[in-house]
């Protein structure tokens, strides 16, 4: 036994003290990590709010941008707001029924092996980077038909599909089997049981899942660069044309050297952020509420 070991045995309190100091130190680091996590969110949101609020006015929402503007011309981003609405609306219209049907198949009809297989496919789809989805739709649609809001909406729908399907599968799995059995035992056909008894139970969950998916794709830029970015400056809602969108507008304005463009980028970012925070927090709240309700039913 070395001298150091002996002295350690003779003074056990030293070791205990050291262990406590290490423990305190680690606890302190964890507290700091928690504080830093919240602080990062605070700093980003505060930066956007402070710079965006001063530029936020009615002109931004109602006026179109003026190309090559000279002097103090009132400029807005109304075209981008309209375009984002059109794109996200179209994407939701495509992804929502598709996703719900996939979820119904996976949860109500598929054998276990198929269920796992489709689950894996949804996970992989969810992991495909947005920019790759962008060039995929570029190759699929844009090469032959040119850029359009349809092309952009298809790209966004590809991103939404796994989100909507996953959320719907989750709530379908929460519906108690006794409901299905009771309905089937009364002689109700399987399809009416699924659509009339099981699906209505999950409406809340599907709505929250869709809101989260909308919040996610409303801010997506990467899939739109190759599919719906070469847009004009007039206010347009024809989905056959390439329409300007808020995220693409922010991206382009942030690359500009003109401080006035930066100011509009901040204002647009603030509007986008408010929309996303509002819808994701509402969705979270609704999800917690409906889960409590479903939990009580079982």
């Amino acid at each position: 036994m070395s001298a150091a070991d002996v002295s350690a045995l003779q003074r056990p309190n030293d070791r205990l003290r050291r262990r406590r100091v290490v423990n305190r130190g680690m606890e302190l680091l964890a507290w700091l990590a928690g504080a830093l996590g919240v602080a990062i969110l605070g700093v980003v949101v505060w930066s956007v709010a402070k710079r965006g609020a001063s530029e936020l006015n009615l002109d931004l929402l109602t006026k179109a941008p003026v190309p090559f503007a000279i002097g103090n011309v009132k400029q807005g981003l109304a075209n981008a707001f309209v375009g984002s609405l059109v794109l996200v609306g179209l994407a939701t219209a495509m992804a929502l029924p598709f996703g719900i049907l996939v979820a119904i198949y996976v949860n109500e009809f598929a054998p276990r092996a198929v269920r796992n297989g489709v689950g894996l496919v949804l996970d992989v789809l969810n992991g495909v980077p947005g920019i790759v989805v962008g060039i995929f739709v570029f190759g699929l649609v844009v090469v032959s038909h040119g850029q359009s809001a349809y092309a952009g909406a298809i790209a966004l729908a590809v991103l939404m599909l796994p989100l909507v399907a996953r959320a719907t599968i989750e709530v379908l799995a929460l519906v108690p089997n006794t409901l299905r059995e009771a309905s089937l035992a009364l002689g109700v056909p399987r399809w009416r049981t699924t659509l009339g008894i099981v699906l209505p139970q999950t409406v809340g969950g599907i709505v929250t899942g869709t809101m989260l998916a909308v919040a996610r794709v409303a801010g997506e830029t990467a899939p739109l660069l190759f599919t719906c970015s070469l847009a004009g400056t007039s206010i347009d809602s024809n989905p056959g044309h390439a329409l300007q969108t808020i995220p693409v507008a922010i991206f382009e304005l942030s690359e500009s050297a003109d401080p006035a463009d930066h100011a509009r980028a901040w204002a647009a970012a603030l509007v986008l952020l408010l929309f996303i925070l509002f819808s994701s927090l509402t969705a979270r709240w609704l999800a917690a509420r409906s889960r409590r309700k479903l939990g009580r039913a079982t």
Binding site: G34, G37, V44, L101, A110, G139, W266
Partner: protein
């Protein structure tokens, strides 16, 4: 319908006399088609990306992966510089985000007073909802200048002997990209880790504390080993996110540098950001095809990441099963 057919069909039915319902067949058929559609969609994505990259694949072959430079004038393209930039930025972000995320998760599961847990969890996860273009805007206009004016000169003067911390010329650098990516993957790693830590059986933790360990020793001896597989999977998913992020990196990394530089305070570029930046300037067929090639690399990587995370989780679960028995 002949008698033979009728009996044959009746035998296949579970209950004699029950009709085959058109509605059932229809719903199962339509829903099944949708599920098949999702599978076909993934296949179609892979096919279209490979198809688009074909010209570049046949022109450059695998040499594309190692060639450094992107030269539209001489039609000579290579992914080497972007692979390097992607590796440096995403690994750097993972190295910064993982300890921070584990700290947040431990804080939320072991230390924080109960009333703080819900709100802080929600706030950290809200970070994941902020669009990358907004984080990029913040990165280029707020974070970049601060780093250039204060942080990078300080790091250069104190740690300048390490080649990573060279002189800085602008706020848009690899280092800025690493920090922005750290912010973006932090909520992913921390929320998965938090869920894993919550799932550690309390009797294991109590047994350790009962033996007289401090809280940190309990975490190091019980919580971290128990969740090792899941945390590794969370890191892999975070890495996947960092590698695939195009917009924020395109905004903050300077991006006009297609070469290789070990100086974190110089500009750089990644695979995804390069695709995003070329959206207006890609002109020739070979140019566009090379962008598809970059996309193919990203697609393959995202597939590997997903499967790897699955394997790691499954192995971890098996080990936990053994432990529990």
């Amino acid at each position: 319908m002949s008698t033979l057919d009728a009996t044959g069909e009746a035998a296949r039915r579970p209950f004699p006399g029950r009709r085959v319902r058109t509605g059932d067949v229809l719903l199962q058929g339509v829903a099944g088609l949708a599920a098949l559609g999702a599978v076909v969609l993934l296949g179609l994505i892979a096919y279209k990306i490979v198809d688009g990259a074909r010209l570049s694949l046949s022109t450059f072959g695998l040499g594309f992966l190692t060639h450094v430079g992107w030269d539209p004038v001489h039609s000579r393209f290579g992914a080497g510089g972007f692979l390097f930039g992607t590796a440096v930025t995403s690994i750097g972000a993972l190295l910064l985000a993982t300890p921070l995320a584990l700290g947040i998760a431990l804080f939320l599961t072991e230390l924080a007073p109960r009333w703080i847990r819900g709100p802080v969890t929600a706030l950290v996860e809200t970070l994941a909802a902020i669009p990358s273009v907004v984080i990029g805007l913040w990165g280029i206009l707020v974070l970049g200048p601060v780093l250039h004016d204060h942080v990078m000169p300080a790091l250069h003067s104190t740690l300048g002997f390490i080649p990573l911390f060279g002189p800085s010329t602008t706020g848009s650098t690899i280092f800025t990209a690493i920090l922005v990516l750290t912010i973006m993957i932090l909520p992913i790693v921390s929320s998965i880790s938090r869920e894993l830590f919550v799932g550690v059986p309390p009797e294991l933790k109590e047994a350790a504390l009962g033996l007289g360990t401090t809280r940190w020793e309990m975490v190091r001896g019980v919580v971290l080993p128990y969740t090792r597989g899941g945390v590794a999977a969370a890191m892999i998913l975070g890495l996947g996110r960092a590698v695939g992020e195009a917009i924020a990196v395109a905004q903050v990394s300077g991006a006009f540098n297609n070469g290789i530089s070990w100086n974190l305070f110089s500009s750089g570029n990644t695979l995804a950001a390069q695709i995003a930046l070329e959206y207006q300037s890609a002109e020739t067929n070979l140019d566009v095809s090379s962008l598809f090639y970059l996309g193919l690399i990203l697609l393959v990587f995202s597939l590997v990441v997903n499967l790897l995370a699955r394997v790691v989780v499954r192995r971890g679960a098996r080990r936990q099963g053994v432990l529990a028995r």
